[in-house]
């Protein structure tokens, strides 16, 4: 797994867009970028995964620049229920099934 760096915490208010940037300078050619979300007292939940450019689903968008050395998870119009820890992972999703999370980014959404 490539090493990743992301902010420890971010604060936001309801209705705002939250952008979490993850740095992964040593990303390899076969590596994908994956984000998980974890609420207190729950298991992690897969949010989104991408290789390059932009990926969007019903939960979030993932922006990946051409050099792939960083990525940004964008949560549109957050609500209080989006308060959670968000983890960025980088690795070869074809083979490397051993997920490994660091501290993640604790996002706190306030009313």
């Amino acid at each position: 797994l490539a090493k990743t760096t992301q902010p420890i915490s971010m604060d936001s208010y309801e209705g705002q867009e939250v952008n979490i940037t993850c740095s992964h300078n040593n990303i390899a050619t076969n590596d994908y970028i994956t984000w998980y979300q974890q609420f207190p007292s729950q298991g992690p939940r897969f949010i989104i995964q991408g290789y390059k450019t932009k990926v969007t689903n019903e939960v979030a968008s993932l922006f990946i620049p051409a050099d792939r050395k960083s990525s940004t998870l964008s949560l549109p119009r957050v609500s209080l229920s989006d308060t959670a820890v968000y983890y960025c992972l980088v690795g070869d999703v074809r083979n490397d099934y051993k997920l490994s999370f660091g501290a993640g980014t604790t996002v706190t959404v306030r009313a």
Binding site: Y32, S41, G43, R45, F46, Q49, Y87, Y97, F101
Partner: protein, 118 residues
């Protein structure tokens, strides 16, 4: 459909006792994983099952830890002679078979079992 379930949700045990943690994966998911997550720590891989076999046990921290899976479904993680450092949340995840194009990072987690060893 039903997600991954784990039982018990909480377990308090005395040091030296054995414990069994159960995981019921999503129906049809042939790959099953055990992890543990300690307070303030990240996620630690323990073991991976494909069907009933465990091709990767590399994350089990000691021979006090063992796991089995029967019928390609339910899995049990057993910790013998528990120690205080075993206290953690034990998470189970499942996914479709990796050799069927499933991306390894898309795993579905249960709620975990919080183990406290006193």
């Amino acid at each position: 459909g039903a997600g991954v379930s784990q039982s018990p949700s909480n377990k308090v045990t005395e040091k030296g006792k054995d414990v069994e943690l159960r995981c019921d994966p999503i129906s049809g998911h042939t790959a099953l994983y055990w992890y543990r997550q300690s307070l303030g720590q990240g996620l630690e891989f323990l073991i991976y099952f494909q069907g009933n076999s465990a091709p990767d046990k590399s994350g089990l921290p000691s021979d006090r830890f063992s796991a089995e899976r029967t019928g390609g479904s339910v899995s049990t993680l057993t910790i013998q002679r528990t120690q205080q450092e075993d206290s953690a949340v034990y998470l189970c995840a499942s996914s479709l078979a990796l050799n069927r194009g499933q991306r390894a990072y898309e795993q579905y987690f249960g709620p975990g079992t919080r183990l406290t060893v006193t």
